[in-house]
Symmetry: D2
Subunit: 344 residues, 4 copies
């Protein structure tokens, strides 16, 4: 546990994602958080903003300027900013040899054109897209180990891609007609002071949104396409439900040929046999309460012989396996640490 | 408001459904609740069990025996019992000329064999199945008016059938590959003292259950098949979310041919133009909080040109439009009252 | 039910209180809502802002200017504005002979000086304070009947004053050392887009606030003092809990002399024997879920012989008996209608 | 981290408290859980019952018989059984030299007579009461270090005693007229399959219960009396609110003499300056969400000069500082480990 601690920084540490990421890093035995930034809270104590950290850290928010970050000599910088604003930091940091793990959507898409289509703005640093590695360790572990720029996946995409991977790469299912129906906790919307996310508006509520073309589709379809080796177009419907954290996703595939429940179960168990953070359930179905607060993704698979469908259900904590936890997983890989360090 | 009040009775009034039904009936200007029964609470004041009724009624629970009910000379008897126990009452009541509105699943299926397949027990009164009318007024209004035995629909089926009806009867969509993904509040499980439904287990939780062959499928597929004029097999995944009441259903259909969003919208608006309790939304999507406490079902429809799917989203209060409210709607039709009486 | 309908207006109809008030008025059989105003939403359909009213009203928000309101010739105008802004409307409306029922704190205090002490600003129309009647019908029924300006009570004060009244006016308790400890749902904070009231911040949370000198103390102590005929200073601690609606208040009094539980119970039952909206419980204790959605206040009383205290617990819906419902109760009195009209 | 691990057992590991305790012990770096028992689940995998432990332990529930426990040679045995059933285990375990930490109420009271008064049954092992140490480390640290039998405090008493201690031991406040008003999450009721604790009954609810003489009063008054050196009788009102975990307690004391806010603040800060698990807040007030999932108790203190009261507000996680976490704290002291081991 002793020895050198790696120096890390977090830019944009005052949202729900940034806060959770900082909490993980402060408890991580082999890193030291040398700077956290926040435009809004610069100068204030981190623990004043994140009361759960009272007594655990003396850190104060620094202003979010590049110079401050560089002066702290971090090996790894996490970016937990809204979409569209990472680019000004990423290039300069990479030039200084700093590894960047970006939790926004800015470097997840390989095509600047698709980015523009879904995010409604020109990409600010298209030249960097090529070197970005999609930070889903279960699929891109080797690439992440060598990455200088990691685009950490979105919460919805993680829940869908981990559910789809065993079925698609093994050809169990058709790639046409896939439907992903997701339920998300309200923290997925971020710490935004908007009426729609008030307690009174969300409690007792359940609704779909972003139908039929949610932004995350671009990222989901890109990665499903890469898995399948062909263009994949799906339906994805996100819903907001009155829980703080967690995503539950139900995915429907047409089976490529008839298989038994046991065969499907076996395919999934094998695919994730060596994964520390993916648990394939057998008798039970995922419930977000069992993964909230953890970096686990739970997966269950069911064959419906009546309709020849494969139904896959996954659960994760949107702020951990769907954001900060997964980013730390990537960091561990890059720093040559055990992948689970600080995450169990 | 004056004039004769119709005498009604409720057998099994102490569950969530029965309680809500009784509340509606007590506020209904043209009926008088002459007897409510409960095995468990016989002798106790109704208002002691349903505190919201304190001061509004002097009724006490009677024992659930047929004689007690008949002595009160009801015109209409509502049955809000668990599945499998209505049969002993229904035959004798019908023989005495009493109209029965049954809220259990016992008379919803036209085939005693399908009942046995899905409910795991022989049907106790198969001869009566023929005369039962499925109590979904938007589809079976004329039949309900003349019915002696109404099988009031389940909560999930109502949310799916009202969402599917305009699309299927007009041939807009294919009947193959339909997927219905539903979210339900916990009251859907009834007032059962089981660990799974404790606050601590449900709060912060979201999970699917009954995958892939939930009991309600039998009822849903029967009615979809009758709409389509052909056998229909679908996927239906119910989820439990931490709200008290409400169902939100998202249904995916393959379009039979390309249509525009405007055409789909128009088809739905026309289909429900004269319906008092179905609201077709336009710019917004259903949210259960907007229908909880009402007998409304809200419906939104979206064409996804990328996948050529029709996505229909519906919301309802599972205890009202999905149970007690719908039963009162049937009663109003049978008694020749305005369909909305006591329901606005 | 026919006959003339009284014309009423609501200024500031887009907050939680205003919305609930408008809903009540739209369902009220003897009034017609002729104008509702909202600075923010002027021109928009009311039902777009309050989806539960879809299909029930064609009203649109008017701009909040006096001229628009007067042109609609209302008999009664409700003001549901934030504190400090009613004064510009109230004087002119009263001059035109319009009855004003103000739901803000602006006319609740008899002393402009106390107002300034607790609200931090000079009162804008101190001359009007004299004619304002405190709109708590259980205490000021006769005065309300003749009032031109009603200051409708706050939600916390209502829950405390109705709990205290029987004990104080009969001298059962001492007026020194009274403690009121209240729990409120989040809607009490209004529809404010602030981080503190986001779902993620409130769910799983419980906290006190405004300790030790909450603004409502001024109103509570004024009214307790009037009941007692002497100056009364109390402790009042409001807490916010994760429910949408409802207030539960526990009040502790020192008994003036030893009395039995039966005597205390009897004193409370007698005090409220003729009240339609106050229910004195006997065997059970108040639970906000039993009054939410109603205009009832439930009260339970317990003698603690160990400490010689009287403990009174009350519950109400903060948006109904604590705001809009109570205001309608006052309106009914002023218009000479039955006090419960539109409220059961 | 290496070195010998102490062998511990948990009797009654399937309730919310037992489950949380086992989770803490499994993550504790210096103990090994050698046996967990459950009458109900004997033979089943622990992780099947506590899904959050999936993949983290191979333990199975053993039957709850003494022999099984003794054969595993534990140094420390935790008892997380309902009240009234510990006695059959405690005597025999103590005789074998095993340290017992009992989380039930059975050994918290020094007087068997008081136990009988409040728990309605004769104490089964009154002779053992003398050797029991009340396991509140902030007050009884030295005694706990040497204890063979620890009676771990109840959740409500912990929240009240930690709030009262600085004020009472320093004579800041009078001991007459103390009022403690507590809010508790539903897990405080245990994993009981009762209608009262169903999601549908608790969501949107808030209510007091056990008024005026809750069982925990016996324990609270005993300990307050020991602090004060005189008999202390208080009022205590527990409330249930719709959160899973957490207790928030507001305590009202009469000040013994006038003091300033700064003096009160200073007294509390000094009293807890060396405590790892008590955080005295200054500018903010406790919110249970900031302590849930931790072993911290947060305390804020306010002087009300208007009424000459001291108001103390505390928060804790009822299953951690109020149960399992505090028990582990005692174990650490007994085993000579650092008090915070496994608890941060």
């Amino acid at each position: 546990m002793g020895g050198k601690r790696h120096r890390v920084a977090v830019i944009g540490a005052s949202g729900y994602t940034g806060e959770e990421l900082v909490r993980l890093l402060l408890h991580h035995p082999q890193v030291e958080v040398v700077v956290v930034t926040s435009r809004q809270h610069a100068g204030k104590a981190l623990a004043a903003q994140v009361p759960a950290l009272r007594g655990l850290t003396e850190l104060r928010f620094s202003p979010a300027d590049l110079q401050t970050v560089l002066e702290a000599s971090p090996e790894v910088v996490f970016m937990a900013l809204p979409h569209g604003v990472s680019a000004e930091y990423v290039g300069p940091l990479l030039e200084k040899g700093v590894v960047v793990i970006d939790l926004s959507a800015d470097f997840r898409l390989r095509s600047a054109q698709t980015y523009e289509e879904f995010y409604g703005a020109k990409h600010a640093a298209p030249a960097l897209l090529k070197q970005a590695v999609y930070g889903l360790p279960e699929i891109y572990r080797d690439e992440i180990r060598k990455a200088k720029l990691v685009a950490s996946p979105g919460c919805y995409p993680t829940s869908i891609l981990l559910g789809a991977w065993p079925a698609i790469r093994s050809g169990l299912v058709k790639t046409l007609g896939i439907i992903a129906d997701s339920l998300s906790g309200v923290s997925g919307a971020g710490r935004k002071a908007e009426v729609d996310f008030l307690f009174v508006e969300c409690d007792g509520s359940a609704k779909a949104y972003g139908v039929p073309k949610h932004r995350h589709l671009s990222e989901i379809e890109q990665e499903l396409g890469l898995m399948a080796g062909e263009n994949v177009i799906i339906n994805f419907t996100p819903h907001m439900i009155p829980v703080n954290r967690g995503i539950l996703t139900t995915i429907y595939f047409d089976l490529a040929k008839k298989i038994s429940q046991a065969q499907a179960q076996s395919a999934y168990e094998k695919a994730y046999a060596k994964e520390a953070f993916v648990r394939v359930l057998n008798d039970s179905l995922p419930d977000i309460k069992n993964v909230v607060g953890t970096n686990f993704c739970e997966v269950a698979v069911r064959v419906d012989p009546r309709t020849n469908k494969l139904i896959v259900i996954t659960s994760e904590d949107n702020l951990l396996k769907g954001a900060g936890g997964q980013a730390v997983q990537s960091m561990n890989l890059i720093l040559g640490l055990q992948e689970t360090t600080g995450l169990l």
